[in-house]
């Protein structure tokens, strides 16, 4: 009877790693078993989480694809100079040479009107129509790349005005303006997606909380009884935290599957569209590291969501 007389054991004296792990494994499988018994309800919650998370993760994949598409285009501030129709090839060569010596210009490339026509015929799809023309309507073009230190709008504008004053030059055009605009839009979109992620993450938190709250209500008696026979707070919380873990984990995995499935569905049409533009662009799938991050994020939401509800519930009971 000696053990019966022993005084109340303190938790830390009682601590035993083996039994701790045993309790965890028991709860781990017990929580899976519970889902096995009610698979429909479980899958419904998992699907809601997955769909909710697939929206921001899908948007991020689209944005990173658009970014990589725009990165494929050389992003230096190229300027195209269209010469007057009457400028001869020799004059164009001389002007190109002259511009090359300008210390604000890093590189010049001369595209003769014959080359330009050839290129146009090849890529525009108007080949047959162009053959009908008697003379070449295209001017000579000099493409210049300003030195890299020349990168702000005022300095570039100054160079542009300076070039436009040359009599041989008909039109000066900055090529990449639209591209930097596109990149600006993509940056805004990326930020918007972060906001959406925060909002929808909150939604997932609420979904998990609400599901766990219902589960708590269904298992009210069980909680009361386990408390009566000496269950600690963490023992009671554990199965619910595991439920939250499973909701988060499977929801996250399903979200990644949904996004990659959509990429797969879009990949075929988009690459045939890209081929029309003679580009080898293909949509990238979600990277493994991104997928892992999404799953981790989802697990975190699941655990936090259930933890909040269960600890609140137990605190009310213990009052």
């Amino acid at each position: 009877m000696a053990s019966r007389r022993s005084s109340i054991k303190k938790p830390m004296q009682n601590f035993n790693l083996q039994s701790y792990i045993r309790i965890h494994l028991h709860t781990f499988f017990a929580s899976l078993g519970r889902f096995y018994r009610a698979p429909f309800n479980f899958m419904m919650t998992v699907s809601v989480i997955a769909i909710t998370l697939s929206l921001p993760s899908g948007l991020l994949v689209s944005i990173s694809n658009l970014k990589s598409l725009s990165d494929q285009i050389d992003l230096t501030n190229n300027i195209s100079i269209f010469l007057q129709q009457n400028v001869t090839f020799q004059q164009a060569v001389d002007l190109s040479q002259l511009l090359e010596n300008d210390d604000k210009i890093a590189k010049t490339t001369l595209i003769s009107k014959q080359d330009a026509l050839q290129e146009f015929r090849q890529y525009s799809g108007f080949g047959a129509a162009i053959s009908v023309l008697n003379d070449n309507p295209l001017p000579h073009v000099i493409q210049i790349t300003p030195i890299t230190s020349l990168n702000n709008a005022t300095q570039l504008q100054l160079l542009l005005t300076q070039l436009e004053q040359q009599p041989a030059i008909q039109l000066v055009q900055m090529d990449m303006g639209w591209l930097s605009r596109l990149q600006g839009i993509l940056d805004i979109a990326q930020r918007a997606v972060i906001l959406i992620t925060v909002l929808l993450g909150f939604a997932v938190l609420l979904i998990v909380s609400n599901t766990i709250r219902l589960e708590l209500q269904n298992r009210r008696d069980e909680i009361d009884i386990t408390r009566l026979v000496g269950a600690t707070r963490s023992f009671i919380m554990r199965p619910f935290i595991y439920s939250g873990f499973w909701y988060g984990f499977l929801g996250g995995v399903l979200a990644c599957i949904l996004v990659n499935l959509s990429v797969w569905l879009l990949d075929g049409p988009s690459s045939s569209l890209a081929q029309l533009y003679s580009s080898s662009f293909t949509i990238d799938y979600m990277t493994i590291s991104h997928a892992l991050l999404w799953v981790l994020f989802s697990i975190l939401l699941g655990i936090v969501g259930s933890w909040i509800v269960v600890s609140r519930y137990l605190s009310e009971l213990e009052r």
Partner: protein
């Protein structure tokens, strides 16, 4: 073992459930707690099991003032008390085995030890061979035995029973009471709340009688 020193309990918005109650139950003693419904029997048991805390006075368990116990330690104190209820409080979606094993799982025993102890407890209450049945498929008396097996499986030094024979016929009641006598004979302290005066008098143990929250008589 168990000591009440001038204990009062007042529920917020209600009257006094217990008024200045003092008594002492020694290690290895068996005692009954009687009184009409509403006399405060359940409240008294709840104070011991830490389901409620006293408004005044001290409840001492094993020389420890349980009223002062931190929330964190409450579960460890409860493990020293086997509780039995009139309505059994069983988990109906779990087998007899799992119901009885619950306190052991909570305490982190290994599978082998759990199996051994559950079988021993079920043997003691005469339910061996029904481990895989569900409580609902058993009779009221048998369900109460599951509750008793669960209360003793952890070998607690003390058993509290709240109207354990409330829903049973006299023959079954006596069988259940004999079980408690057997536990008491091996050294377990037993306190049973019951209003089955006939049965209690017949058994001849010490009786604490509550009336409107006051201890009116302690004899035996």
């Amino acid at each position: 073992m168990l000591q009440f020193i001038n204990v009062s309990k007042r529920y917020p918005g209600g009257g006094d459930a217990l008024k200045n109650v003092s008594f002492d139950i020694k290690q290895g003693e068996m005692a009954f707690l009687t009184g009409h419904s509403g006399a405060g029997k359940s409240t008294l048991l709840k104070l011991i099991a830490l389901l409620e805390r006293s408004t005044q006075g001290q409840v001492m368990l094993d020389n420890q003032n349980v009223g002062r116990l931190s929330k964190r330690l409450v579960p460890y104190t409860r493990r020293k008390i086997g509780m039995i209820f009139q309505d059994h409080r069983l988990l109906h979606d779990q087998t007899v085995f799992d119901n009885v094993a619950l306190p052991l799982i909570i305490a982190g025993f290994n599978h082998h030890e759990i199996k051994r102890r559950v079988r021993a407890a079920l043997d003691k209450v005469g339910l061996l061979g029904k481990e895989q049945r569900y409580p609902i498929t058993l009779s009221g008396g048998e369900q109460q035995r599951i509750g008793i097996a669960r209360a003793v499986v952890n070998r607690p030094p003390m058993i509290l029973a709240d109207e354990p024979t409330g829903n049973l016929d006299p023959a079954l009641s006596e069988e259940i009471m004999q079980l408690f006598v057997q536990f008491n004979q091996v050294g377990v302290t037993v306190l049973i709340a019951s209003h089955d005066i006939g049965l209690i008098q017949q058994m001849g143990y010490r009786t604490l009688q509550l009336s409107q929250g006051e201890l009116v008589q302690a004899h035996g």
